[in-house]
Subunit: 328 residues, 2 copies
Amino acid sequence: MPKRLTADQYIQGLLAHDRLVLSRAITLVESTLPADQALAQQVLAAVLPHTGRSVRVGITGVPGVGKSTFIEALGMHLVGQGHRLAVLAVDPTSQRSGGSILGDKTRMNQLAAHPQAFIRPSPAGRSLGGVARATREALLLCEAAGFDVIFVETVGVGQSETAVHGMVDFFLLLMLAGAGDELQGVKRGIMEMADAVVITKADSGNELAAKRARVEYQSALRLFPHAASGWAPVARTCSALTGDGVAGVWEEIGRYLTLTQGNGYFEQRRQEQNLQWLRHSIREALEERFYARPEVAARLADVQQRVMSGQQSAFAAAAELLGLDGGA
Amino acid sequence: MPKRLTADQYIQGLLAHDRLVLSRAITLVESTLPADQALAQQVLAAVLPHTGRSVRVGITGVPGVGKSTFIEALGMHLVGQGHRLAVLAVDPTSQRSGGSILGDKTRMNQLAAHPQAFIRPSPAGRSLGGVARATREALLLCEAAGFDVIFVETVGVGQSETAVHGMVDFFLLLMLAGAGDELQGVKRGIMEMADAVVITKADSGNELAAKRARVEYQSALRLFPHAASGWAPVARTCSALTGDGVAGVWEEIGRYLTLTQGNGYFEQRRQEQNLQWLRHSIREALEERFYARPEVAARLADVQQRVMSGQQSAFAAAAELLGLDGGA
């Protein structure tokens, strides 16, 4: 098999639910080579009518919260019900040399080996924008290849969560029970994005603490404003070890889908997300072009220094740099 | 006096703390006429060394929370201590015909009449980006004119809070006591920006409910991650009617300043905010230029429709529109 397939081979392979072709198509959308990008866009355009028919779930939580074991447990529950599950990741800190949270598939032994599951680590070595874009395109490819549930996981310590929130239908925040300190690593704003907070590791004598944490988070979530979806975020406990609460998490997602598909929010949100991706793609390309101009790049560090120290106003500095752009 | 002053008249007037000149200089930065903008930048550049020496406080809360009376009470407390206070607003919904939350200065009777206070409604009739930019420039002008405390208020129902958060040192969220429903109007994410939550109207038999709300919010705030500032957000009650708690709010801000000026966060944050404004100014100008191109404007609605309905991928559509730009 050649290194790169033809557009037709990718398209036919995806629609035939060929996992090997899916894997290679994702490699293609991750590539930054112009020829690969052009081919990738051709493939995406062809399979687009076959996308959109999955439930997209964002899952976040700091390292140590038990994300892999949670995904393994919930994933096995889903494939047991007949679902086909793809697990993707957005982790801009991951390096090509490994270090991706999903790089070590051994933490998802059973799921990784299951014929109805597909696990793919985060693309590496690129900016958040690049990683998020590649992941979103991979998500569409997985849908074209027949996966009806997509998990997009992220590490919960950076800005990736906003990107993931912009590509999923339901956003799940994993938390540990504890005295409050456990939240130190979670970035501000993440809790308010959550449609559900799940307290993990509710087992091995930790049950009571988990239950207490659940009550605390549930009342904290009640203080948050009602979302446009009409959904009131829930807090639950769960043990990947005993399996307690795992099915319950999926039931909550089901309730969310029933509600939002009924009131029209689900479809409306998907449309808004599409428009957002259009705006972001344009913005990123414009900024990339601008900052890559030699005359801008040559002046930037100096201008930033003056703005930072308050010697020049941000607006005057912007006008100066934009002037170098020749008004183009 | 002519309609427009010379650059020198603006500069001398500001540095002489002339309120009438300040008012006209703000009108100048609010103007969208290219000639006014050029003059405004000249004035800003000249007074820039005299800016930055105020405490910048963002104040938000939905209509009905008692924002004007709170600002009047806290403001009178501050001028009584010898401070010079400027009150600005960011309200992109306000219309030239009135409707600005500060348009009706009668709700701040005493403060509006006080020689150490300066109240300026939100600039009207522009986008959030335009309003935010004008307000940030007005803030610098107020500092040049000798005001040492600046309040920037916003209505708490839109995206303005993020813009205000990006221009202030301390962010105050006003809340009413109640059963949780009162939060409906506050946008998600705002609570996690708050350095302090103040429960207003803790008077007239409402004292107990306010105290209960304070405890609730205080424990909710504890669940939030620690901020980079090292500051743990606080919840307090306050009555603009009896004056109870008003001085206490200012004391919290003082504690925040002591902490963050001591650990270096205050200065570092100001520098980051400057850089952010540079990036945003450039981004806005690039996007404005792009979407204003006739060939882009002519295709945009059609492309958006196809992306929204899922007929075209966001990335392919972006590439199509960017191609119209001739790679410039």
